[in-house]
């Protein structure tokens, strides 16, 4: 793969003496939507925390757009957009201030029109001047995703980003992300339990079990699964169960 947007090499991470992830290697190419699946507690969020430098791995290497997260964190993070969990957002800042802080951190002088248009499509514009602690879970989730998209980063990392969103907003967001990564030539790493995303949007998917990657579905295999007669979700769920065994 030439110049991957994200490259994870032999990653090892955990909390104190407990190892959660062992020997994880993934590379995301430009224009690729990569979905991380797996049962609860398998290490999906830990992996994302390592990628966004909220957790320091005990071994391995993470490169974002060719920059090592360990050796050149500033450069690596300039190419990263992360949709944090809604409870991490600052309760006493307004949505507008959160966006301004993110934009300033990325060295922007303005916020892109495409982001404001997405906010409008998601019916978020009315909440720009509301304090975060007054927003509902779904509205906070929208803000977290908008923050991830500030500065049009090549790598977008989202953790269960569609939780709490109403179906219409979720659909708008999925379509927007698909168009954005193709237009931008970026990549999206999403941890989720929604198999419909794998069915309709993902280019590749992987299942993580007990901290190791058990199976990666390449693009052609996913296409074969989609084309096969029968229930895609059932087939994928069965494949995950088989991987778990």
């Amino acid at each position: 793969m030439n110049n991957p947007v994200l490259e994870i090499r032999a990653l090892r991470a955990g909390y104190g003496p407990r190892t959660v992830l062992e020997n994880i290697s993934i590379a995301l190419a430009a224009g690729e939507w990569f979905v991380l699946l797996g049962p609860n507690g398998c290490g999906k969020s830990t992996l994302l925390d390592c990628v966004v430098s909220r957790l320091v791995p005990s071994g391995g290497e993470i490169l974002i757009a060719g920059h090592s997260l360990r050796q050149a964190p500033f450069e690596a993070k300039r190419h990263l957009g992360y949709g944090c969990a809604p409870d991490v957002l600052p309760a006493l800042l307004t949505a507008r201030q959160c966006l301004e802080v993110h934009a300033a951190a990325k060295g922007l002088s303005v916020i892109g029109d495409d982001l404001l248009m997405l906010a409008d499509e998601l019916r978020f514009t009315a909440y720009f001047d509301a304090f975060v602690d007054m927003l509902s879970l779904g509205t906070r989730q929208k803000l977290a995703v908008l923050l991830a998209l500030v500065g049009d980063p090549p790598l977008i990392v989202l953790d269960e980003a569609f939780n709490g969103l109403d179906p219409a907003s979720a659909l708008i967001l999925k379509r927007h992300l698909r168009v954005r990564i193709e237009r931008r030539g970026g990549a999206l790493l999403l941890a989720t339990h929604s198999l419909d995303i794998v069915e309709h949007y993902a280019d590749r998917a992987a299942v993580l079990i007990d901290g190791t990657l058990k199976h990666v579905w390449p693009k052609d295999e996913l296409q074969r699964l989609r084309a096969a007669p029968g229930d895609f979700e059932a087939a994928l769920a069965e494949a995950i169960s088989t991987s778990a065994l």
Partner: protein, 332 residues
């Protein structure tokens, strides 16, 4: 599970203790150090003990008022919390709910009486070993204070039920920013500077302030003029605001670290954005403190020294905390 709230509270306490690594040997060592400290302070503790005995009624009255106010407040708060808690839908007998609530709501009073009892027994032991006269004086003080606390706890149930606490979001008490045009964005880190100030506003709710003023008023000697009382309240408010802003800086900088970790932000820029407004508020509070001391006929020099020291200490504490947090963040 017969008493789920108590069981959950116990388990949380046990988990906290094991996470903090506290062991029985630690508790024994702590008790021994308290005893040694009592030996050391035996001579110096005698006059305050005598004062407490002479003014037993006053102390008991103050303890009763404090206990009644705190428990009434705690009762309203705990009931509001329970209504929203994860245990709200657990089936529990009405009688269990009653005694469980009673224990939870009066816990601070029970803990205070217990703590006073431990200190009194330890002190009596020390007095017995050193063969001092009137070794039962600590028990008398304990009985007076405990009586006051117990009377206050009972009194809190006799006074009208406080209004239910609605646990509002913190931003209700924060000055709201001016509404702007939807597309009017000015990327800047300056909002980080507002965060600790807003946090201080969110904590300093009107109810809490009004309750904090009561002990200040009660602590004033008879014959105090209204002017002096106003200045004393203003001084206490200034010191309270300083403490709140310092605590808010600690809390907000910790939360900011979690939120901003994935961003390519320079630590020095964040530290500057955080500290400038907070330090400005701390310096203003120090200046106000000096002015209020002047009103109290304290000399110019002493007022300036106290105000300056307070401001310097506040700024130093806030700076150390923020720098520490952000230097931790940049470690590999």
């Amino acid at each position: 599970m017969s008493a789920p709230r108590l069981a959950a509270a116990r388990l949380i306490r046990l988990n906290r203790r094991s996470r903090a690594g506290l062991k029985r040997t630690g508790a024994v060592l702590l008790s021994l150090s308290v005893l040694i400290a009592l030996f050391w302070a035996e001579a110096t503790a005698a006059p305050p003990l005598k004062w407490l005995r002479v003014h037993g009624l006053l102390c008991a009255g103050l303890a009763a008022v404090a206990s009644a106010v705190l428990i009434a407040r705690r009762r309203a708060l705990k009931r509001a919390e329970f209504a929203r808690s994860w245990l709200a839908a657990v089936p529990v007998r009405a009688s269990t709910v009653r005694w469980e609530s009673l224990l939870i709501e009066t816990f601070p009073a029970i803990a205070a009486v217990g703590l006073l009892a431990i200190v009194s027994i330890s002190y009596v032991l020390v007095l017995a070993i050193t063969r001092s006269s009137d070794i039962f004086a600590p028990f008398a003080v304990w009985a007076t204070l405990s009586g006051g606390i117990a009377a206050g706890a009972v009194g809190s149930f006799l006074v009208p039920q406080p209004k239910p606490v609605d646990l509002p979001p913190g931003s209700r008490y924060v000055p709201h920013p001016r509404l702007q045009r939807a597309a009017n964005f000015r990327p800047s880190l300056s909002a980080l500077g507002n965060w600790p100030i807003r946090q201080a506003f969110a904590w300093a709710q009107p109810k809490i302030i009004s309750r904090a003023i009561i002990p200040i008023l009660l602590g004033m000697p008879l014959g105090t003029t209204a002017d002096a009382a106003m200045v004393a309240i203003a001084l206490s408010a200034t010191i309270g605001a300083l403490l709140l802003v310092c605590s808010a800086v600690v809390s907000a900088s910790r939360s900011a670290r979690r939120w901003l970790a994935p961003l390519p932000v320079r630590p020095d820029a964040v530290i500057r954005a955080f500290l400038l407004p907070a330090c400005a508020v701390i310096v203003a509070a120090g200046t106000l403190e000096a002015l209020l001391l002047l009103v109290f006929n304290v000399s110019y020099r002493t007022s300036a020294e106290v105000g300056g020291c307070t401001a310097a200490l506040g700024c130093l504490t806030a700076s150390v905390v923020v720098v520490w947090n952000w230097s931790l963040r940049t470690r590999p």
